[in-house]
C-alpha cells in the first residue's frame, strides 16, 4: 500500500566546488568555437611514427657536445636557482610591504623565456642572460612561497623568546629552523623546474639541451631527438641519486664554469637599450606630441595587444579545462585505492615522463607534427599540467584512509569516495596552476600560435623593443589579474 502522506521533496544543489569546476568547463566550451583547433599538417601520423621509431633506436650525437649541453643545462639551473634562493629569501623578509609584493608579482608574472628575450637584447648571448632569465622570475616565486611558509610556522616559540631578542636572532632561532624542512622541499621541487627552464632556454640560443633538441628536430634527426630526450628524463629521474647534501655545494660552485663562453657584453648596447630602444617610438622623435603617442599606443593595442590577449585567453581557458579532465582521469592510476603496487607502476612511469617534459618542448614537437594551430598547444599544456596535477591529486588520495566497508566496485569508489574527498585539493592545484598555464600560453606564441608571445617575438624581430616591452608588460598584468581572481575563487570555495 502506498503511503498517502506527501513527503516534501527537498531540492538538491551541487556543492560549491563542483559548480566552480563546471563554470570553468562551460567557459572553455564557449571558447572552442573561437579557437583554431585544426590539424593542418598533411600526414601527422608518419612523422609521429618516425619520432617513435627514433625512441626504439635512439642515436647519440657527438658525445662531447651532449655532455657539454647537459652540464650547461645543470649549470644554468643551479646557478639561477641558487641566486634566486638568496634573493627570494631576502625579498621574503620584506614581503609584507605592498610595494615589495607588487615587484615580486611582476618578476614572476613574466615568463623566463620573455626575461631571456629581454636580456638577450642588451647582454647578448652572454651566460649572464641565461642566469638572470632564471634567477629573476624564480626570485619572485621564492619570495612569495618563502614568505607564506615562514608565516605558517607555529607562533608559540617566537612569543616565548625573551624581550629584545632581536629580529635576526629570533628569525634564526625560531622561524627558520621551524620552516626549514618545508623550505628545503619546496626548493628541491623548484630546482627540478629550474632544470626544465634551463633546457628550454636553449630554444633562444643558449647552449643548453633545448638548443640541440631544436637543431636535431628541425633537421628531422629523430633518433638524436629521442636520445636527447631520454637523457633528459634520466637526468631528472635520477636527481635523488646525484643530488646529495655533499654534492650540492660542488654543483653550485661549479655552475659558473660550465655556462659556456658566450659573447662578450657590449656595454654600449646595454646603455642604448635603456636610453633609446625601450623608449616608446613617438617620444624618441624630435618633437613628441600627445597625438603621436596616442596613435602609437592605440595602434599597438588594437592590432597586437587585443588579438594577442584574446587568443591567450581562449587558448588558456581551453587548456585549463582539458588539463583538469586529464588530471581527474590520470590520478586513479597512481592511487593505492584503485590499483595494487605493481599495477601503479605504469601509471607512475607515464606521469613522470609527462610531467618532466616541459610544455614548451611538447608544444614544439606537437606543432611540428600537427601543424600550426591551437590544438598542439592545448594538448601540450594539458599533458604536462594534467600529469603534474594528476600526480599531486593521486598522492593526496593516497593519504585517505577508506573505511572497511568502502564501495567495492572501482568506479563507485572513484565517484563516491575518492573524487569528493580529493576534489578540494584538486581544485586548489588547478586554481594555482591557472596562472602558470596562462603564462605558458602567452610564451607558446613564440612557436607561431598567435598568443601574445607571437606579437612579442615579431616586435623583437622588427627591432621594436619598445613595443615588445609594452606587450610583455600587458602579459604580466594579465597573469597578475588571473592570480588575483584565482585567489578570490579559492577563498570563496574553501570558506
Amino acid at each position: 500500500m502506498r503511503s498517502t502522506k506527501m513527503v516534501e521533496m527537498p531540492t538538491y544543489r551541487w556543492p560549491r566546488g563542483a559548480r566552480t569546476g563546471l563554470w570553468f568547463l562551460l567557459i572553455a566550451l564557449l571558447c572552442v568555437p573561437f579557437a583554431d583547433l585544426e590539424v593542418s599538417s598533411l600526414d601527422p601520423w608518419t612523422d609521429l611514427g618516425r619520432l617513435l621509431q627514433g625512441f626504439i633506436s635512439p642515436q647519440m650525437m657527438d658525445l662531447e657536445i651532449v655532455i657539454e649541453a647537459l652540464l650547461a643545462t645543470l649549470a644554468f639551473a643551479f646557478g639561477g636557482v641558487s641566486l634566486a634562493v638568496v634573493c627570494g629569501f631576502l625579498l621574503a623578509l620584506a614581503f609584507h610591504h605592498p610595494l615589495m609584493r607588487g615587484i615580486c608579482a611582476l618578476m614572476r608574472s613574466v615568463h623566463e623565456l620573455f626575461w631571456a628575450l629581454i636580456f638577450l637584447q642588451f647582454f647578448g648571448l652572454h651566460p649572464l642572460t641565461g642566469l638572470l632569465a632564471i634567477a629573476v622570475p624564480y626570485s619572485g616565486i621564492f619570495a612569495r612561497m618563502f614568505a607564506e611558509i615562514l608565516d605558517q610556522v607555529p607562533k608559540q616559540p617566537g612569543y616565548s623568546l625573551p624581550a629584545r631578542s632581536g629580529y635576526l636572532s629570533a628569525l634564526f632561532y625560531t622561524r627558520l629552523p621551524l620552516a626549514w624542512p618545508h623550505l628545503v622541499s619546496y626548493t628541491s621541487y623548484r630546482l627540478e623546474c629550474g632544470i626544465r627552464s634551463s633546457a628550454i632556454l636553449g630554444f633562444v640560443g643558449l647552449p643548453t639541451l633545448g638548443y640541440y633538441l631544436e637543431s636535431s628536430f628541425s633537421q628531422g634527426y629523430y633518433p638524436e631527438v629521442a636520445a636527447l630526450l631520454i637523457l633528459f628524463y634520466v637526468l631528472v629521474a635520477t636527481k635523488k641519486l646525484w643530488l646529495r647534501r655533499w654534492t650540492l655545494p660542488v654543483f653550485i660552485v661549479g655552475a659558473p664554469f660550465f655556462m659556456g663562453e658566450g659573447m662578450p657584453i657590449i656595454w654600449g648596447n646595454v646603455w642604448r637599450f635603456f636610453s633609446q630602444d625601450i623608449v616608446p617610438a613617438p617620444l624618441r622623435a624630435s618633437d613628441p606630441t600627445w597625438q603621436s603617442f596616442a596613435d602609437w599606443s592605440s595602434n599597438i593595442l588594437l592590432e597586437q595587444a587585443l588579438p594577442g590577449i584574446w587568443n591567450t585567453l581562449i587558448l588558456s581557458q581551453i587548456a585549463l579545462a582539458v588539463t583538469g579532465i586529464f588530471a581527474l582521469c590520470l590520478f586513479p592510476l597512481i592511487s593505492r585505492h584503485c590499483f595494487s603496487a605493481a599495477g601503479r607502476m605504469p601509471g607512475h612511469l607515464l606521469l613522470v615522463i609527462a610531467r618532466s617534459t616541459p610544455e614548451y618542448l611538447l608544444a614544439y614537437i606537437l606543432l611540428q607534427l600537427l601543424g600550426p594551430s591551437m590544438l598542439p598547444a592545448v594538448i601540450a599544456l594539458a599533458i604536462h599540467n594534467g600529469a603534474l596535477i594528476g600526480y599531486l591529486t593521486g598522492r593526496n588520495s593516497n593519504e585517505i584512509q577508506l573505511r572497511h566497508d568502502a564501495p567495492v566496485r572501482r568506479f563507485d569508489r572513484y565517484c563516491y569516495e575518492l573524487l569528493p574527498r580529493t576534489y578540494p585539493a584538486f581544485l586548489s592545484f588547478m586554481l594555482y596552476r591557472w596562472e602558470v598555464i596562462m603564462r605558458e600560453t602567452a610564451i607558446l606564441g613564440i612557436l607561431g600560435i598567435q598568443t601574445i608571445g607571437f606579437f612579442v617575438d615579431s616586435a623583437i624581430q622588427e627591432i621594436r623593443f619598445d613595443v615588445a616591452l609594452l606587450l610583455i608588460l600587458i602579459a604580466a598584468i594579465m597573469n597578475i589579474m588571473v592570480d588575483i581572481i584565482a585567489r578570490r575563487i579559492q577563498q570563496k570555495v574553501s570558506s
Partner: protein, 216 residues
C-alpha cells in the same frame, strides 16, 4: 543455529598480538555487546568479523567513514551502491533520483535529520554525523549489524532512540559500547575483553552493573 562462526588464531598488527586465538559462535537473532577498556581489541575484533563476512554485514566504524563533502543523502545512499548499476550510481551522484530520495527521506525523519537531506556532512555537528552513519547502515539492508560505539556522540535520550532503532532493524547485531548500563539494557549477550582474551561471555540477564564494572 549460528549465523556467524568467527575463528582466529590471534589478531594483531605490526607483529603485536591484540587478541589471543578464540572461537565465537553468534546465533541468528542475537544482540551481542562487546565491552572492554579502550584499546583492548574491540575494534580489531569487529573489523575482523567484517572482513570475514562482508556480504551479510553492515558496518558503523568508529571513525564513521563519511565523505564530508558529499550531502547526507549521498552518504546514506552509499549503503546500497552495490545494489545498483554503475550508471545509476553516477547519475544519482549528479542528479539524485527521486525514487532514492523517497526511500531515504523517511529514514532521515526517524533519525531527526529530515531537514539535512542535502546538506554537506561537513556542515553537521558530531552527533548528526554519527546519525548519518547509522542511517547508512540502516539503508544498506544487511541482516547483521557491526557497530563500533555507534552512539558515543549522542546524548542520553537520543542515544536510546538510536539504539532501539538499530535493535528493531537488525535481526543480529554486534555492538561495542563503553556504557555498562546501556549494554545491559540493549544486549542479550555480553562479551568482555581483557588482556587480549575474551574473558566473559554471558547472557545479559545474568549480569549486573557491578560485575561488568570490574572490566573497566
Amino acid at each position: 543455529m549460528s549465523v556467524l562462526t568467527i575463528q582466529s588464531d590471534g589478531l594483531g598488527y605490526d607483529g603485536q598480538t591484540v587478541l589471543e586465538p578464540f572461537r565465537l559462535d553468534i546465533r541468528s537473532g542475537e544482540h551481542l555487546i562487546l565491552l572492554g577498556k579502550s584499546g583492548c581489541g574491540k575494534s580489531t575484533l569487529l573489523n575482523h568479523i567484517y572482513t570475514e563476512n562482508r556480504d551479510e554485514c553492515a558496518l558503523i566504524p568508529q571513525g564513521l567513514g563519511l565523505v564530508d563533502r558529499l550531502s547526507v543523502f549521498h552518504n546514506v545512499y552509499m549503503g546500497r551502491l552495490s545494489h545498483h548499476s554503475v550508471f545509476h550510481n553516477l547519475r544519482n551522484l549528479v542528479m539524485p533520483a527521486e525514487a532514492r530520495v523517497a526511500e531515504i527521506v523517511p529514514l532521515l525523519e526517524r533519525l531527526g535529520l529530515s531537514d539535512k537531506c542535502f546538506s554537506a556532512v561537513a556542515d553537521l555537528s558530531g552527533g548528526q554525523q554519527q546519525r548519518v552513519a547509522v542511517a547508512r547502515a540502516l539503508y544498506q539492508g544487511a541482516s547483521v549489524l557491526l557497530a563500533d560505539e555507534p552512539v558515543s556522540a549522542l546524548d542520553g535520550p537520543e542515544a536510546d532512540r538510536v539504539m532501539s532503532l538499530l535493535g528493531q532493524h537488525f535481526t543480529t547485531a554486534i555492538i561495542t559500547l563503553h556504557d555498562v548500563e546501556r549494554a545491559l539494557r540493549y544486549g542479550q549477550r555480553i562479551i568482555a575483553i581483557q588482556d587480549g582474551a575474551l574473558v566473559l561471555d554471558e547472557p545479559a540477564a545474568r549480569l549486573s552493573v557491578s560485575t561488568l564494572n570490574a572490566f573497566y
